[in-house]
């Protein structure tokens, strides 16, 4: 049987699919959040040095992971949209940006809440904090550029260029800031050596990360549906939707 790989690359056929998938992703996210929070608060042991305050990492670390992951995914979709001129890819990129910025903000905010009892200060100019802050500025730049351009196709392409330039720069910025100054504790989770934290702590963090991931997909699908309706409001398929829903 021949599979039509491009069936869902058209907004007309992706719109209903996104609508059907959204509740499932939201439900998965809700279940994972409940499980993740339970593990975080009741199963994971109290940290020997940091006491109960460390528990904010169950929000902080997943948000920080997602903030970087979403930027890469956003740049990838924007790049596909630029290279193959596919409208939907660019719409997905635009739909991801606010969620990515939100995750970056949450990571910064929770980091600051954790920093006050641990380091005794709300903010330090340490490598990860600074590069996370710059990542937030990169998200703002992408969104402002798209908002400033009226023609949606030009906005897509211009946004794609800045997203791709940004994605090349993120590692450079990270390492430059890292060599500049570092105070943040070393990475606790690494693929090459065994984690230095308790298994249940790691599990809680992974479950929460999955929950954040599912939430991001659900919100992205909702937002991309709104973008599709807005941009294609003069097309036949949107008019057909209006007729069906009086």
């Amino acid at each position: 049987m021949a599979i039509n790989w491009f069936k869902y690359s058209s907004p007309a056929s992706f719109y209903p699919l996104a609508g059907r998938l959204t509740p499932w992703f939201f439900a998965t996210a809700a279940l994972l959040v409940i499980a993740g929070l339970y593990i975080s608060f009741f199963v994971a042991p109290t940290d020997a040095q940091q006491g109960e305050a460390y528990r904010i990492i169950f929000i902080h670390v997943p948000a920080a992971w997602m903030s970087m992951f979403i930027y890469v995914v956003m740049a990838m979709w924007a790049g596909i949209g630029l290279a193959f001129n596919t409208r939907l890819s660019s719409m997905v990129a635009s739909a991801l940006a606010p969620t990515g910025a939100l995750m970056t903000f949450i990571a910064l905010w929770t980091g600051s809440l954790w920093g006050k009892p641990m380091w005794g200060t709300w903010w330090v100019w340490d490598a990860r904090l600074t590069s996370e802050l710059i990542l937030l500025f990169l998200y703002f730049g992408f969104m402002s550029l798209q908002a400033a351009i009226d023609d949606p196709r030009r906005a897509d392409k211009a946004g794609a260029v800045i997203a791709l330039v940004g994605v090349v720069n993120v590692p450079i910025i990270y390492f430059s800031v890292k060599w500049w100054n570092t105070l943040h504790q070393g990475a606790s989770v690494s693929l090459t050596r065994s984690p230095t934290m308790a298994k249940t702590m790691l599990l809680g963090m992974l479950v929460m990360a999955l929950a954040f991931w599912m939430y991001s997909i659900a919100v992205m699908l909702m937002r991309v549906r709104a973008i599709m309706l807005e941009r294609e409001r003069n097309s036949d398929w949107v008019k057909a939707l209006e007729e069906r829903r009086p």
Binding site: L82, I134, F137, L138, F140, G141, S144, L145, A148, I149, D150, R154, K157, A158, V161, I162, L164, V165, G166, V168, N169, I172, I173, S176, V177, W179, W180
Partner: protein, 227 residues
Amino acid sequence: MNAPGLTDALRAIAHRDLLAALRHRADLLTTLIFFAIVASLFPLGVGSDTALLRVMGPGVVWVAALLASMLALARLFASDYTDGTLEQLALAPHSLTLLVLAKIAAHWLATGLPLVVIAPLLGLQFDLNADAQLVLLASLLLGTPTLSLIGAVGAALTLGVRGGGALLSLLVLPLYVPVLIFGAGAVEATAAGLGAAAHLSLLGALLLVALVFAPWATAVSVRIAVE
């Protein structure tokens, strides 16, 4: 009639842009005066303690140079965009990437190089010693072309866009961070008695990477703008 060769085209563009810059001397001076004013504001803001100023000097001069170079970016493509020259460049039979590179080079000669030349004067205000002054000069010489190259992408993307100036700074300033860190770091390392070689090498590496990718991204952005 034969179309002019690539080298002729590049030379013509650079020559024309430099000539235009010389004819608008006031614009060039504005950038330089802005550079001097920003650097002079810092002692007024933080006090005239020489020891403090000596520590802050490299960073302040670098931040001022970065802001001044960003201020000049708006002029890189703007007039060519309004009068249609940019469109003609995009239609030219030569690689737009190289044509854009010629424009960036001319822009740097007209706005970046003067910044480098007057920077030691500002260094004196912050009581930098001779070694630090030399390294400041070297770091700006390696760093400001990178700023022009990265900035060109932002300048091309914001052509004819609402709120161009503020948007340009939002797009470009975060990307300037590594240049600032290694540029100011080189001078600070010298002032602290460590060698500046590592910082300068990294600045050189950034320049090479920007030289390869930035003109290309700028050319893509110019095409998006004139489409």
